[in-house]
């Protein structure tokens, strides 16, 4: 074994990996992995380009509190191999556990629920024992046990998606979930589509406007301590100003004046998005956090459907915002001017429309709507640094489906994408629901590239 020069004294520095002893490297990798996606990503780009080490064969995992996300110590886990010899371990202070096994093969991992803290139980009672296949020697397979609030035997408060018996009876619930998710996507897609319509910019940094809305609400709410509703209103104003007006005035307007091409602008937006995402990570940290109010709200039953009041109210506001935007586009002078610019900027300009003013309005409007989309998303699943980028591709899918550049198409397309994402879980595993929507995006482009409401034209 080749021991590198220096043993680093403190902190899991990213580049410190390279110089560590191998044992140290393994330990650090371990620590980083537990930082979930962020860790994996940074690790991937930093250290794992080095040859992997001949790690021991085994099984590992982390038992986490579903609310706080912190690890739970002292939970008993038993691993049984094909030969029937059980090995029992308890989780460490950070909730991690590791069992080394002699060879690759099939193992059964059982969690002892009596060792869980009071008030916590497995989210799915049928998954007390996980069957795991260790693929190859030298591989440490992760096993997850999802916990939920509740006591053993009661089934916890996990979403009803875990009950496969009544699969088709979930259709009403999934439809409502899909509509709500569709509204979230539509709010973001209107801005994306209007900006594309008026400036032909394919904005890959639009997801960061969604995150800006969610994160600044968290800032006013969680850090400053204002009530959530006031925070949300402030966040929309701030995002519309900073994300819309300032961004357009100091970045995109000068670029248009310089005559920067469309593809160059697209690449610029990718750079901007990358910068903003990691800036958010830098400021906010890698966790997913909830607003201080309405986090674990109980649902109310309306017929066959369970809906939380916060979702009901926020999606009603969302619908109102979309309706107002539609009204504005159809009936007001400024809205008509916007559609004129989207149709033909040169002609609009010649007819006395101030094109730059229209574009500026569109940016402010789009950023404001996107920020509300981020707030809705934050209410549903919490806010995190990459919340916008996660759904950006679905926003694109919605816009393209409806016809890129048309606001009404974007709304329609987004609702369809939202429904599709939720309803597809009837057929495909929940974790792959976004994949289904993206596959549909590709198929739509094959059949009807201009989208549902787009004009057919020969492009390219």
């Amino acid at each position: 074994m080749r021991t590198r020069l220096r043993v680093v004294d403190d902190g899991p520095g990213l580049l410190a990996h390279r110089r560590d002893t191998r044992a140290g490297l393994l330990r650090r990798r371990w620590a980083l992995r537990s930082l979930a996606g962020v860790g994996a990503l940074l690790l991937g780009l930093g250290a794992s380009v080095l040859p992997a080490l001949a790690a021991d064969t085994g099984l590992k995992g982390t038992v986490k509190d579903p609310v706080s996300g912190s690890g739970i110590a002292g939970v008993s886990i038993t691993v049984t191999g094909a030969d029937g010899t059980p090995q029992t371990v308890t989780t460490a202070a950070d909730g991690t556990w590791l069992v080394q096994v002699p060879s690759a093969g099939k193992y059964e991992v059982t969690i002892d629920q009596t060792t869980l803290p009071d008030g916590l139980t497995l989210a799915d009672q049928s998954k007390v024992t996980a069957k795991v296949n260790v693929l190859s020697e030298g591989r440490v397979q992760t096993v997850l046990f999802k916990l939920a609030a509740g006591t053993a035997g009661e089934g916890g408060t996990a979403p009803s998606a875990d009950a496969p018996a009544s699969k088709w009876s979930q259709i009403p619930q999934l439809t409502v979930d899909g509509l709500i998710f569709g509204i979230v996507i539509a709010l973001a897609a209107v801005g994306l589509s209007l900006v594309f319509g008026t400036t032909k910019l394919t904005n890959f940094a639009h997801g960061e406007l969604i995150a800006l809305g969610g994160l600044s609400t968290y800032f006013f709410n969680g850090v400053v301590g204002l009530p959530l509703i006031l925070s949300a209103a402030l966040a929309v104003v701030v995002s519309a100003f900073v994300g819309g007006w300032v961004q357009n005035r100091y970045l995109w307007k000068p670029l248009r004046k310089r005559g920067t091409g469309l593809i160059a602008a697209l690449v610029v937006s990718i750079g901007l998005g990358l910068f903003l995402r990691y800036f958010f990570l830098f400021i906010f940290g890698g966790q997913t956090r909830s607003f201080d109010a309405y986090a674990g709200q109980a649902g109310i039953e309306i017929g066959p459907v369970l809906i939380t009041p916060k979702d009901l109210i926020s999606s009603t506001i969302g619908i109102l915002l979309i309706a107002l935007t539609t009204f504005w586009l159809l009936k007001t002078q400024a809205g008509k001017a916007t559609r004129a610019v989207a149709d033909n900027p040169a002609l609009a300009s010649a007819s006395g429309i101030d094109v730059e003013k229209v574009i500026s309005t569109v940016w402010v409007l789009g950023a404001g709507l996107a920020s509300f989309s981020g707030i809705m998303l934050g209410l549903q699943v919490g806010v995190s640094w990459q919340m916008g980028f996660t759904i950006l591709l679905l926003v694109f899918a919605g816009s393209v489906l409806g016809g890129l550049g048309t606001a009404f198409g974007a709304i329609l397309g987004s609702i369809i994408v939202g429904l599709l994402v939720q309803l597809s879980t009837l057929i495909i595993p929940t974790e792959l629901k976004y994949v289904g929507a993206l596959v549909v995006l590709i198929i739509i482009l094959l059949i009807r590239p201009q989208g549902i409401l787009g004009k057919a034209e020969r492009i390219g």
Binding site: P51, V268, G271, F275, L276
Partner: protein, 329 residues
């Protein structure tokens, strides 16, 4: 401040495994984006196909390495065809959206729990990837002034740069052939080429597939070097890094991606090492910047770098601005 160690790491990584892998991916993107003007943002997906082909076929199934590589290449050809058919007749930004979506599909499928038994979930697959190939290595590790490679790394790097040289030579030959001239003229003015009776669609498809195959080779080398694949290594950030490399070095230049990759990795490692050392030595207060956050600063710098390059010097270091009439499509 440990200057020797800073320079050691920076210069080693300048020609190291990451530089080779990203250089290969960038050579592919250079054909697509640089020469043909195609916005392929799914290079990470192509690389993932190459890497996973080797991982699944060699480690899990037990096929020989060469057969697995051929399967990876075939897989990337099919992937390119699937992406190209719906999008190459459309405007350039549609290709960008579809390719980025397709690469995400691949990553999310690869890391799904559903296929855990085949693709290893978010942990990926590690094991013996290329034992026979490593056994061919006649060299020992190197530790010469600022260059420092272990035995295996040195073998990967030597083979990798040799592959880069071959592909660069091929690119050079291709681009001065009639085929290459048609490709470049498609980038300049598609309609003019079409009016000359060339099948623009076919040429674009060939460029997309060729660049994708080179991208899959990047994934193969990545998997062989790391002896593991992890799905999150093939996230969109890989593609974004590759674009920075292509634009930095100069698009539509044979040596652009090579120089770009070297400079990119030198700067990236140098900056993070410098910050790391500065924080440890107390020059930067750990309240402002902790060592954990250096990776984040690195990404921010890449983002800003990409923006500034595209705005102020889209032709990169060696490019020719006249070669970059990428627009009006």
């Amino acid at each position: 401040m440990d200057w020797l160690s800073i320079f050691q790491n920076s210069f080693t990584q300048m020609v190291g495994v990451a530089a080779v892998v990203y250089c290969l991916a960038a050579l592919g993107v250079n054909i697509q984006f640089g020469y043909a003007g195609l916005l392929n943002f799914g290079q990470a997906g192509f690389a993932a196909i190459g890497a996973y082909a080797v991982a699944v076929l060699v480690v899990t199934v037990g096929w020989p390495l060469w057969l697995a590589i051929i399967c990876g290449v075939i897989g990337s050809i099919l992937f390119g065809l699937i992406l190209g058919v719906p999008t190459l007749r459309l405007r350039a930004d549609y290709l960008a959206i579809v390719t980025i979506a397709a690469a995400e599909i691949i990553r999310q499928v690869a890391r799904s729990v559903t296929l855990n038994d085949y693709l290893g979930g978010s942990d990926g697959i590690s094991g013996k990837y290329a034992a026979d190939w490593y056994a061919l290595n006649p060299f020992e590790g190197i530790d010469f002034f600022v260059l420092r490679f272990s035995k295996n790394d040195l073998w990967v790097v030597l083979n990798g740069w040799a592959l880069v040289a071959i592909i660069a030579l091929l690119t050079w030959l291709l681009m001065r052939s009639p085929w290459g001239r048609v490709l470049k003229s498609i980038r300049e003015d598609e309609d003019a080429v079409r009016s000359l009776g060339k099948n623009v669609y076919l040429y674009k498809m060939q460029a997309l597939v060729l660049g994708g195959v080179i991208g899959s080779l990047a994934g193969v080398i990545f998997a062989m070097a790391a002896q593991s694949v992890q799905p999150d290594n093939y996230a969109t950030t890989l593609t974004f890094y590759v674009y920075v490399i292509v634009i930095l070095g100069g698009a539509a230049r044979v040596f652009g991606p090579i120089i770009g990759s070297m400079i990119f990795w030198f700067l990236l490692v140098f900056i993070s090492e410098l910050l790391n050392n500065a924080v440890r030595a107390g020059y930067i207060s750990s309240d402002i910047l902790s060592t954990d956050q250096i990776g984040q600063v690195r990404f921010m710098l890449v983002g800003i770098g990409l923006m500034l390059l595209m705005i102020f010097r889209p032709q990169g270091i060696f490019g020719d601005k006249k070669e970059l009439a990428l627009d009006e499509r």
